[in-house]
């Protein structure tokens, strides 16, 4: 009798694979999986396709023109709900990285904030308050609204910028103007005076500071320590047809993320991803944040921020359901979503921790046993230096979200358009 096939290498339904990426520092997991042979080792022949818009990536994955892609962590959730675009059933079983974004404002605006309160230099909270003073002054003087650039309407950057502004009572929908600019055009738009500030991923913040166009007033890490940034997403129907291939891609990406999180590899990662086929920017620009330096002000040395980009440690790759809940809470807060729905059901449809656990176990990694964790309860100073399983997770405003407490959290948010009673009614089973 033939012996049962060993379970170590399930069959690939497909081995020629097209994956999409956007030229940003955190396309690194896909590029490294390709360049270091992690895809090859899984029997995958991968073609990495550089894409020029998030909408393009979303549609191509939805139409299965691409097999999978790097995506903003909020995108698969937004697409599932048809928020800010068509309804597309995408899923994600893996987070590619944490942190990595920043808010940069032009020199003129920075000087204004600095004049109002010089602590704007290092405190995102104070910078936002100074900005609020300026916004009020502009209103009284009937000056045009300040313009801020983001890369996609329902992006992580949009929610981060909004979070920062709202922390000082600035209404992002009425007090300022938000426009969408493609990442490679962001710095140019600032230099041409089209926008006064932006929230974007690296290396574009570093580039703007290096070109002496602006100052970084907040990093994503400062707004919410170790929050999810990009995920690997595929369409739900693709995942059903190609479970073996999906797992093989996840394993290769996980190996790439482990490789990327080793300090000694960051320099060569910068060399690889800055190449013309990927980001096409000077290696030195890309290397700065990747090797753990946050450049905020020209003429001042960059700050050491080891966690500027996190690719693996702190259970970074695990698709925490509560992260999906946070994105949904922000969609309600800003009125992008106004139909009360079962939040638990939605995030479970999109984020796939079970798939992740299979891939992690296959390469000998432990995964969290729970699908949700509390956010905002771990401060940097509480952590052991070598803590690997969980990292700091504080919000800039000191809020805490307990497991099952997303509606309670949403209720505390200022400027919120969420219909809390309606949400409570439909989410009674899950809410504590």
């Amino acid at each position: 009798m033939p012996s049962a096939r060993s379970g170590s290498t399930p069959e690939l339904e497909k081995s020629d694979i097209n994956l999409g990426f956007i030229p940003l520092t955190d396309c690194a997991p896909l590029v490294i999986a390709q360049e270091k042979g992690f895809f090859n080792a899984e029997g995958l022949n991968v073609n990495l396709q550089r894409e020029s818009s998030w909408a393009g990536i979303r549609d191509k994955v939805g139409l299965e023109i691409l097999d999978g892609a790097q995506m903003l962590a909020s995108m698969p959730v937004a697409a599932r709900l048809g928020v800010g675009g068509p309804r597309i059933d995408l899923i994600s079983a893996m987070v590619l990285d944490l942190n990595g974004n920043a808010i940069t404002i032009n020199n003129e605006l920075y000087n204004h904030l600095y004049d109002i309160d010089p602590r704007s230099e290092f405190s995102p909270l104070i910078a936002a308050q100074a900005l609020q003073c300026l916004v009020e002054e502009n209103k009284r003087a009937k000056r045009p609204k300040l313009r801020f650039g983001i890369v996609y309407p329902c992006s992580t950057q949009s929610y981060e910028l909004r979070y920062w502004l709202a922390s000082a009572g600035i209404n992002p929908d009425t007090d300022i103007e938000i426009v969408v600019v493609p990442p490679p055009k962001m710095v140019q738009a600032m230099s041409e005076g089209d926008i006064h500030g932006f929230c974007v991923g690296e290396p574009w913040n570093t580039l703007a500071v290096q070109q002496q166009l602006g100052h970084v007033v907040a990093t994503k890490y400062q707004l919410w320590n170790n929050s999810p940034e990009k995920v690997f997403a595929v369409s739900e129907s693709w995942a059903k047809k190609h479970p073996g291939t999906h797992q093989a891609i996840l394993r290769a990406l996980l190996r790439a993320c482990i490789w990327l999180d080793k300090k000694e590899n960051r320099r060569s990662a910068a060399k690889i991803i800055s190449q013309a086929a990927y980001i096409a920017l000077p290696e030195e620009t890309v290397a700065l944040s990747l090797t753990g330096f946050s450049l905020k002000h020209h003429g001042k040395p960059p700050e050491r921020v080891d966690d500027f980009h996190v690719f693996h440690r702190y259970s970074a790759n695990f698709p925490w359901l509560n992260h999906g809940e946070w994105f949904i809470s922000q969609m309600y807060r800003w009125g992008q979503l106004n139909v009360a729905l079962n939040i638990d059901e939605t995030v479970r449809a999109v984020y796939k921790p079970a798939e992740f656990r299979i891939a992690a176990a296959a390469i000998g990694l432990d995964s969290p046993n729970i699908d949700r964790k509390t956010e905002g309860n771990l401060h940097e100073k509480m952590m052991l230096p070598k803590s690997q399983h969980l990292g700091p997770n504080q919000f800039m405003d000191g809020k805490v979200i307990s497991v099952g407490g997303i509606i309670k959290y949403l209720e505390q948010q200022s400027l919120s358009q969420a219909d809390i009673p309606a949400l409570r009614l439909i989410n009674t089973d899950n809410e504590k």
């Binding site: 299965e64 675009g85 068509p86 493609p182």
Partner: protein, 189 residues
């Protein structure tokens, strides 16, 4: 009905031009220098937007769609159903479609179908023309060679053709080849 073409290269736009004007749609184009899409799209108020699938400005279109629900929205399905046409429009023609909600799905379906088949037929015709070219060129050589023989040896056309054929078969070469040599060197051998 106003159709805006955005970031579509001139060759593609040229192909779209007749289709859209045949069905009586008004074509508007944006100059690449027209950077402020927010302003220009509000000004122009298109009902349909055709954009290069790989245009970096697509995310701005998404934002405009979100800001104003009555402005063109991404068309990903038709009447809520998966459409092979939308897939082929993106994958084969490289176009993405935005339309205001009032535009009927059947109209969009027709527009997609016509565009795909027209693009394919143009590409097919180009290939066929390309395949015909060598045959036409060969005939051109033979005709010129016959003229040359008629002039040089003072022969009638059928006699010239006969001479060329006989020489070719004696040398076991094709008539075209020999004609080409004759034109280049003036000699049969």
């Amino acid at each position: 009905m106003k159709v805006l073409l955005l970031d579509i290269d001139p060759k593609q736009a040229e192909k779209l031009d007749p289709i859209l004007s045949w069905v009586g749609m008004e074509l508007i184009r944006l100059e690449p220098s027209d950077i402020d899409l927010y302003h220009s799209i509000r000004e122009l108020n298109p009902e349909i937007i055709l954009v290069d699938t790989n245009s970096p400005r697509r995310d701005t279109l998404e934002h405009l769609a979100q800001l104003k629900p009555d402005s063109p929205q991404t068309v990903f399905t038709l009447n809520g159903d998966h459409s092979e046409g939308i897939n082929r429009l993106a994958a084969e023609v490289g176009l993405s479609l935005y339309a205001i909600n009032d535009v009927r799905a059947s109209l969009l379906q027709a527009l997609i179908d016509i565009t795909i088949s027209y693009f394919h037929s143009i590409d097919r015709l180009r290939m066929e023309v390309q395949a015909m070219k060598p045959a036409v060129e060969q005939r051109h050589f033979v005709n010129k060679a016959l003229m040359y023989i008629m002039d040089t040896y003072d022969l009638a056309e059928d006699q010239a053709q006969d001479l060329l054929n006989k020489n070719a078969s004696r040398q076991q070469r094709s008539v075209t080849e020999l004609a080409q040599q004759l034109l280049e060197t003036g000699s049969f051998v």
